[in-house]
Symmetry: C2
Subunit: 140 residues, 2 copies
DNA sequence: CTCGCACTTCAAGTAAGCTTGAAGTCAAAG
DNA sequence: CTTTGACTTCAAGCTTACTTGAAGTGCGAG
């Protein structure tokens, strides 16, 4: 199949498929007179990549996963990744719930005028903001 | 106070404070022989900004909020922002829980070998990935 | 033969929120 | 007077995951 057909089948753009190849996420494609030719295996692979991405994994995660040779090794890596992601997501959910609570509580507060607002007073006591951002997720 | 003192008091870097000024989030600072001078009002303002950022608001959100003139107007904007953020966070938590469930279920699946895995088969049926990423949060 | 389309490569652009570097200024300390 | 340290501006860099654009190639149709 051509890159255009793979793109149509997977919902990615052709440019993204080329990018994945450059990034080492997809193997170098065979060429027929300079043009990339694929088999349905590529579609399966892209489907797996898309699945992982949807679950909030980075391309680096995916690269690590697909680099695994042999099914059992791959399965180990998969479990490791999943376990790490579960911890991350747990943290994310916890953080989100904290934010939700504060938002609700501060909704009718005078914070904005900065007049002795308990939230901002609490805020002063907190350590500097962490540089680390929690992982962004896509809708599942 | 100097920019360095404000930085120390708020946990931001001086460069970030200058950036906020350029970005219109902080008002143009008074100068004494070319150097910015601040009052504790600035610290309060930065504290508010930091509070908002911690809750997952963008600098654009904050700019809109602080642009409000008069306390009641500001309060209205605050409530609007909070309501919008609550919807967003609700979506984020829902998405995160979905991901959590799928991760758990797929943990011990044969997905990685692509051998008739129900998760990947489901994946094939899904629409192309949404470009939209859910808001990243910081820890609260 | 020429048109048009899908493809090719490579470089650069995009988003957000800052940081970093280079080069210069200023005031107080030694 | 010189050094030191904090400050100044402006431009460029960082990160991730791609997209976009420019310029060129290959192939089937008319």
């Amino acid at each position: 199949m051509s890159i255009g057909e793979v793109a149509a089948a997977t919902g990615l753009r052709a440019s993204a498929i080329r990018y994945y190849e450059d990034a080492g996420i997809l193997p170098k494609a065979d060429r027929v007179s300079g043009k990339r030719r694929y088999t349905s295996e590529t579609i399966d692979r892209i489907t797996l990549i898309r699945f992982c991405r949807r679950l909030g994994m980075s391309l680096a995660d995916v690269r690590g996963l697909l680099g695994a040779t042999g099914a059992s090794r791959a399965k180990d890596r998969w479990r490791q990744l999943v376990d790490a992601k579960l911890v991350e997501i747990g943290g994310l959910i916890k953080a989100a719930r904290g934010v939700e609570r504060i938002l609700r509580e501060s909704r009718d507060c005078d914070c904005v005028t900065l007049a002795s607002c308990s939230f901002l007073i609490d805020e002063r006591a907190k350590p500097p903001p962490s540089r680390r951002r929690l992982t962004g997720l896509r809708e599942v």
